[in-house]
């Protein structure tokens, strides 16, 4: 009799686990598929600024951004002072060039880096999980309409957190990934991961468009 009720418990637990898994998969599928974007007057944008060249590239991308994209939230790695300086210069320049830009707000947020240059791959798994643990609260707090990123490791936990926001039914966040102009023939690791998770995946060279027909190719945009 006891063995029977133990078996029943296991079966019920397995069924429950299966149901939760099925529900999650369904939610992921629904969120990744949904393309019904309502036209809006303004979009809050979260920009992931990886270090060095990534920040330079993404700021070049934002050069002609209209005021409709505000407020702007920048996310940088906590060890990255260079990017903070570049962002501040960029925003000041923007305000100088066009006084109507003066009142659009921007914020800089810091999270731990997923991976240092030349860090070993096994330790990268741990630091990435740690970054995820810290990036979800940030995404949850900011609830951006759109996340824009261009490839540094920092962007994976952020985009996964944004996706999670959708899966949990809190908010659908549009994820736009622009592969770095350095990537001519092959995608970066972040690109390979986010190709399947982003709403718009933009490449800057024709060879990549051929390999990934679902991507968007607009020529060089930085």
């Amino acid at each position: 009799m006891r063995r029977f009720s133990a078996l029943m418990c296991v079966l019920i637990l397995a069924a429950a686990a299966g149901a939760v898994a099925a529900f999650l998969i369904l939610r992921i599928w629904v969120v990744l598929r949904s393309r019904d974007f309502m036209p809006r007057e303004s979009l809050s944008i979260l920009v992931v600024a990886g270090s060095g060249g990534h920040t330079t590239e993404i700021l070049r991308l934002l050069g002609s951004l209209s005021n409709a994209y505000s407020p702007r939230h920048y996310v940088i790695a906590d060890t990255d002072e260079m990017s903070a300086n570049k962002i501040n210069s960029f925003e000041l320049d923007r305000a100088d060039r066009d006084p109507s830009n003066m009142y659009t707000k921007y914020y800089i947020h810091r999270i731990p880096r997923s991976r240092e240059v030349r860090q070993s791959w096994p330790s990268t798994v741990f630091t990435t999980l740690h970054s995820m643990w810290l990036s979800f609260p940030l995404i949850h707090q900011v609830k951006p309409d759109l996340v824009l990123c261009n490839g540094p490791g920092t962007c994976v936990p952020i985009c996964v957190s944004a996706l999670l926001l959708g899966i949990l039914g809190i908010k659908k966040v549009i994820i736009v990934y622009v592969e770095s102009v350095c990537r001519v023939e092959t995608l970066s690791l972040s690109g390979k991961i986010l190709f399947h998770l982003s709403d718009y995946f933009i490449v800057q060279w024709p060879a990549l468009k051929e390999k990934y027909p679902k991507s968007v190719y607009l020529g060089r945009i930085v």
């Binding site: 270090s51 060095g52 060249g53 330079t56 590239e57 070049r60 260079m82 300086n85 210069s89 240059v117 030349r118 770095s180 102009v181 350095c182 990537r183 001519v184 023939e185 092959t186 970066s188 060279w205 930085v222």
Partner: protein
Amino acid sequence: MKCMFVTVGTTSFDDLIACVSAPDSLQKIESLGYNRLILQIGRGTVVPETFSTESFTLDVYRYKDSLKEDIRKADLVISHAGAGSCLEALEKGKPLVVVINEKLMNSHQLELAKQLHKESHLFYCTCSTLRHCTPAW
């Protein structure tokens, strides 16, 4: 006053800095008619001494808010293969030699350098082949 500008962006590229600032390299640079060499060394640990003689000046610094001025003044730019550095130099119409850092992970920088070279925008090489890149100099 011919000026050569070497930039490594925000990275550390000791091999390049060491190669360019070696005494025989400096001699060669001067013999090619350059009076000024500016080294932007980023996070590097190799820090050559700045000096100034009648005929030649060597400037060294880590970072500036913007490299636009130094690129504008340069007659030749030697750069690491970062996209930002390459684009900035090419936009100013400067002759560009890109040096690939073989010690970086899977050297994806090579892809961009190769492509831009194919389209005749720059020359590329490694530290060991830099000295042979004379047509560019």
